[in-house]
């Protein structure tokens, strides 16, 4: 006597209890506070905010904690929350030229107004595990801080622009309404504003690999880091009743302007072109990868042959989202036995036909052999 499998509900409840237990970990250790996560695992929190498209360090810290440190799961949690939020206003474009700089490096000029500023970077650290962090940690020294100088940290792209050697900053006509990929279905070919939105929330690893592929010759773009800047930018909204914009607060962002060689075309003179990256929080790797992929995706604008994966909009933009990707890859673990049964039936039938045919052929061969023997 066979009894059909039952009890899905109980099984789910028990699995969730187990998950809660594992998430908490050993009870003799104190639970992590959100402030600790936001304060000490801040780059993890930044990545979650960036790929969830929601700037809120404490909620992102909660997501990291709830997800047991699984970044994509944390991104997913924060995105699902973001979906439920009302749209109260649309901010003015961020004025990154005016941001308060924490880090700013240019690879194209030795020195420039505003200077080179290393900021809190892993660059030039020797990647040696630090035993001092293993136990009771000594308080690190308080870093020296300089007063805000008020000196304008001019953008490298503006320097090149002054000389007329770089293409103009991308602009749409006055009638263009900026798209919103979280409110509208993707529609190919996609204009650059929505492409950049997809890249900004795209998976860091996926963009990194694509960017790397362009450097290795799959859609080369001859890039130079015009500038990377990290710092705090004001978010402003315009109040129609007042007729001017008011600041809402500041967010930490990373901006990368990649400068790429371009030999010119029938329509355009030889000049440098741009690739752009902008990411919430401190995430240089993502901003750089984004700007390389942005430039690669502009191939058709410059009449370049589309020959590499990173230049292929539909390919890049349809697969950049890690929440979508993980969902669909992982859905294969859901039961598929109904479809598998249908396939089983077909393969069995085809196998039976195959065996029958082979048996028939073997029979013929036997007959030939016996004839020859006679």
């Amino acid at each position: 006597m066979y009894v059909a499998v039952k009890g899905g509900e109980t099984a789910i409840a028990e699995a969730h209890r187990l998950l809660a237990d594992r998430r908490r970990g050993p009870r003799d250790l104190p639970a992590l506070s959100l402030a600790q996560i936001a304060g000490q695992l801040s780059l993890a929190v930044d990545r979650v905010m960036a790929e969830a498209s929601l700037y809120d360090p404490i909620l992102a810290a909660l997501a990291v904690k709830q997800a047991r440190g699984d970044m994509i799961e944390a991104i997913f949690l924060l995105r699902a929350y973001r979906t439920t939020l009302p749209r109260l206003a649309i901010s003015q474009p961020l004025e990154t030229a005016a941001m308060q700089i924490e880090r700013r490096v240019s690879a194209t000029y030795k020195d420039l107004p505003g200077g080179q500023l290393l900021g809190p970077t892993f660059d030039y650290t020797h990647r040696l595990l630090d035993p001092d962090l293993a136990g009771e940690e000594a308080e690190p020294e308080t870093p020296a801080r300089r007063a805000v100088s008020g000196e304008k940290v001019m953008r490298v792209s503006d320097i090149l622009d002054g000389e007329g050697l770089v293409e103009g900053d991308g602009s749409f006509g006055p009638d263009h309404v900026a798209g919103d990929i979280t409110r509208e279905p993707l529609d190919f070919p996609m204009p650059r504003d929505t492409r950049l939105q997809v890249l900004a929330r795209g998976d860091e690893g996926f963009l990194l690999a694509l960017a790397y592929s362009t450097q290795r010759g799959y859609g080369r773009t001859h890039p130079f880091v015009g500038e990377i800047r990290i710092g705090l930018a004001d978010v402003e909204i315009e109040l129609p009743e007042l007729g001017f914009s008011v600041p809402l607060g500041r967010i930490r962002i990373t901006e990368c302007q990649m400068v790429n060689q371009f030999k010119g075309s029938a329509k355009e003179p030889p000049q440098f072109t741009r690739g752009y990256g902008l990411v919430f929080g401190q995430s240089e790797r993502k901003a750089m990868a984004m700007s390389l992929v942005d430039r690669a995706l502009r191939a058709d604008e410059f009449g370049e042959d589309i020959v590499a994966p990173a230049q292929d909009q539909e390919f890049v933009l349809s697969h950049a989202d890690n929440v979508q990707a993980t969902g669909f890859v992982e859905h294969l673990k859901l039961p598929h036995y109904v479809d598998f049964q249908a396939e089983l039936d077909l393969v069995r039938r085809m196998r039976a036909e195959y065996e029958a045919k082979r048996a028939g052929q073997a029979g013929d061969e036997d007959a030939i052999t016996s004839e020859a023997a006679q």
Binding site: Y2, K6, E9, I58, F76, R79, P185, F188, E314, G327
Partner: protein, 291 residues
């Protein structure tokens, strides 16, 4: 921590009203153009893409306090993902649920159409992973959209015919493409082709939601749904040579259950509600016991 305080509240059926309106408009256009995939701004749901977010959004946009919801996966009400989706709607819409096909006003399904005939007034909501029937021939959306626009389905027929030439069979056993109302070729979602005939002229409204791919499509009631085939190779469905071991049914889709490590197998109805009703009505299969 003011941000934390605001997390708990959600609207009836989870989605905000603006999102529901957007989905509702898409549903109406989908009904007006049977089989055509209407793009919609699919939202992130609190469950993974590929796990029924499209179906869940369609259900959330149509469901009301008067409804009775049934959720099945592989034909069964008790599979884990069906349990999870049903629990979601119980929580966010406080809606009555049922496992009985006949009692349900909305049936959300993954991979099956119930065996019991559906009736007018019922809505069948399919969860769809890949809505584009031409996708396995052509990965590009820009290309497939053009093929639908021009009603250019020759490639699909060629592919099916190549199967016949090579294997003597059309090697598509599930997600078998159909043509709706004589125009659009449509993916019926990964139901076994056994279920395809149930779509044809069904009295129920059939809605399809693909969340990750952001498409909604529909088959209105009493609409012709024809499985693609050829004159010399007409469409046929799988037949089982054994009855259901529990209820003895000879005309339902069966799951294969492995009983031991010596090749022991049994076949039981995939539609658990159908099987239980038959047993309650006194039908007994070779391995079953009277209810």
């Amino acid at each position: 921590m003011s941000a934390i305080e605001g997390i708990a509240r959600t609207n009836f059926a989870y989605l905000d009203e603006q999102t529901k309106r957007m989905i509702r408009r898409a549903i109406l256009k989908a009904i007006a153009i049977p089989g055509y995939q209407v793009p919609f701004a699919s939202r992130e749901m609190p469950m993974p893409y590929g796990w029924g977010t499209g179906g869940v959004q369609v259900t959330a946009a149509i469901i009301g306090p008067e409804d009775r919801l049934k959720v099945i996966d592989q034909g069964a009400d008790d599979t884990t993902n069906a349990v999870s989706i049903r629990a979601f709607f119980e929580k966010v819409a406080n809606v009555a649920v049922t496992t009985h096909t006949r009692d349900a006003t909305i049936i959300q399904t993954r991979h099956r159409i119930p065996e019991a005939p559906l009736s007018e007034g019922q809505v069948l909501v399919y969860q769809v992973p890949i809505p584009e029937p031409l996708r396995f021939l052509e990965p590009r959306e820009t290309e497939t959209r053009m093929m639908h626009a021009l009603e250019e389905y020759g490639l699909m027929h060629v592919k099916l015919y190549e199967d016949i030439a090579r294997n003597g069979h059309i090697a598509t056993t599930y997600a078998y493409p159909v043509q709706v109302a004589g125009r659009y070729v449509m993916d019926p979602s990964p139901i076994p082709k056994f279920d395809n005939p149930k779509m044809d002229r069904s009295p129920a409204l059939q809605l399809f939601g693909a969340g990750r791919e952001k498409r909604i499509y529909a088959v209105p009631p009493f609409t012709e749904v024809k499985s693609l085939d050829f004159e010399d190779h007409p469409f046929t469905i799988q037949r089982f040579d054994k009855p259901c071991a529990l209820c003895g049914s000879t005309h339902s889709y069966l799951d294969e259950v492995v009983l031991d490590d010596r090749g022991g197998r049994m076949f039981v109805c995939s539609d658990t509600d159908f099987c239980e009703e038959r047993r309650e009505a006194g039908h007994v299969g070779p391995l079953g016991v009277p209810a």
